[in-house]
C-alpha cells in the first residue's frame, strides 16, 4: 500500500502522504497539522487520528511523544455531534 492510500484522518480524508508533506514544510506540532489539514476537526474530534499523527511526528522529529509540543487540552463540547433541536428540547425540559 502506498502512502497515498493510507488514511490518517477518516473524517477529513487526510492521507499519510499529505501528512508527511506538512511535516516537511515545518509543521511539526499536532495543533498546526490540525489547523492546516482539518484532521481532528471532523465528527470524531481527533479520537482516531490524534495518536497516529503524534506517532508520525515522533518518527519525523525523533522527539519522544511527551516532548512534542501540544496545547493543553481545552474542553471543546459537545462530546459527540448533537442536533440543535435536541439542545433546544433539553433546555425547555430544564425550564419546566
Amino acid at each position: 500500500m502506498s502512502d497515498d492510500d493510507v488514511i490518517i484522518c477518516r473524517c477529513e480524508d487526510l492521507t499519510l502522504k499529505e501528512l508527511r508533506e506538512l511535516l516537511k514544510r515545518g509543521y511539526t506540532s499536532f495543533d498546526e497539522i490540525k489547523r492546516l489539514s482539518r484532521a481532528g476537526m471532523g465528527p470524531c474530534q481527533g479520537k482516531t487520528c490524534k495518536q497516529l499523527i503524534l506517532n508520525e511526528i515522533k518518527n519525523y522529529t525523533h522527539l519522544e511523544i511527551d516532548k512534542i509540543p501540544i496545547r493543553p487540552t481545552v474542553v471543546r463540547p459537545p462530546a459527540r455531534p448533537i442536533i440543535f433541536k435536541e439542545i433546544l428540547e433539553s433546555e425547555n425540559e430544564r425550564n419546566r
Binding site: 514544510r25 509543521y27 506540532s29 495543533d31 498546526e32 489547523r35 492546516l36 482539518r38 476537526m41 471532523g42 465528527p43 474530534q45 509540543p69 496545547r71 481545552v74 474542553v75 471543546r76 463540547p77 459537545p78 455531534p81 448533537i82 442536533i83 440543535f84 433541536k85 439542545i87 433546544l88 433546555e91
Partner: protein, 383 residues
Amino acid sequence: MKETADIVIVGGGCQGVSLAYHLTKKKAGKIILLEKSYLGSGATGACAAGIRAQWGLPINCKLAIKSLEKFEQMDEELDFPGGIDLKQGGYLVLAYQEEEIVQLKKNVVLQNSLGIKSKIISPGEVRSMVPYLNTENLIEATYHQRDGYADPHKVVFAYGEASVRLGVEIRKFTPVKRIIVDEVRVMGVETDKGTIYAPIVAVTAGIYSTGLLSNIGINIPLYGERHEALVTEPLEPMVKPMIISFSLNLYCQQTPHGSFIMGCGDPHKPVGEDISSTPQFLFTMTKKITRLLPFMKKVRVVRQWGGSYDMTPDATPIIGSVSEIKGLYLSTGFSGHGFMLSPMSGELLSQLIIGETPSVDISGLNLERFQIGELIREPSVVG
C-alpha cells in the same frame, strides 16, 4: 555570543506575521519573530474568520477596504499551497430597531464616500438572497458583496511561509520573558533561550501585550474578554452571505468547507484569559439561530470553543510607536476584529517603522489617545 537583529517582533498572530511580511518585503533588515507557541495559537486561531468593510468609523472603513483588496490578491501574492479559502458572499447586516437603522444608514453613507459599495436592501431582497432566513420583524438590512470569509490559520501560515522565504527568522515555541529597555530606548528582548539585542521591538502579543509592557512601566488599557463560537457539520452550500445583527447580537456564516460558524454576545462575559466553553452559550446560540434559520434545528453542532477578544476602551486598535520609549512599536487591541484588518495594519506599521509616511493616516490610533481622552468609539460591533 551576543545575538542581534534589526527588528524583533513579539507574537506570531495575524498582526505579527503580517508585520513581518511587510517589513521584509521592504528589505527592513534582519527580522526575528518570536512566538511563544505556534503561529496563530492565540486569538487568531479562535477567530470566526469574518472579513467586512461595513464599519461605522472612517479609520476602520479605510483599513478594512484596503485589507479586503489584499485578501483578494493574497493567493497570488503569497502563493500558499491550497490558498487561503477566500469566500466573498458578502455580509448581510440585519436591522430590527429604528435607532439601529439610523446608524446603519449613516454607516452606508460613510462607506460609500470611502469607496465601499454597500447598500440598503429590503426584507424582500433579503429573502431572495437567503430563502432559508426567517425575516419576521426585520425592517431593513445592509449588504456589501466583497465582505466574507478567509481562513485565519491559512492566512497566518501563508504570511509566515512567505516571510521566511524573504529572510525572516521565525522562532516558534520561544516565549519572550521581558522587553529590555535602557530608560528611554528599547534594547532588545530576553527569551528563555537567551537575549536578542535590537534597536526596534514591535509588540504584537495580543492580550499578552499588556503584561509585557507593564513590566517596563508602560500601561496600556488592553484586556481580554471571553467570546465563544461554535461550528456545525458541513452541509451543501445554502447560505451565501455572513448574517450578522447588532440588535440580535449574533453572527453566522457558512464556510467554504460547508460548516456554519456562529457566535453571539454574552452579557456576563468574563474579563481575563478565560477561554472555556459554556453550556449557557450553547443554549443561547441554539435559541437564536433556530429562530433565525429554522432549518438549523436538524443540523449537528460539532464543536464549541472560546477565545479572547483583545479589547480597548473604545473598541479600536492601538497601532504606532510608544512615545516614552524609542524603538518600541505596538499593533494590538483590535477588539474582536483584528483578523480582517491585519493585512493593512501590518503594512502601515511597517511603513512607520522604516520611516515612511503611512499610506493611511493612523496617527489617531496611537496609545496617547487614552491619556488625553480622545477616544474614537466604533459603533458597529457584536458584543
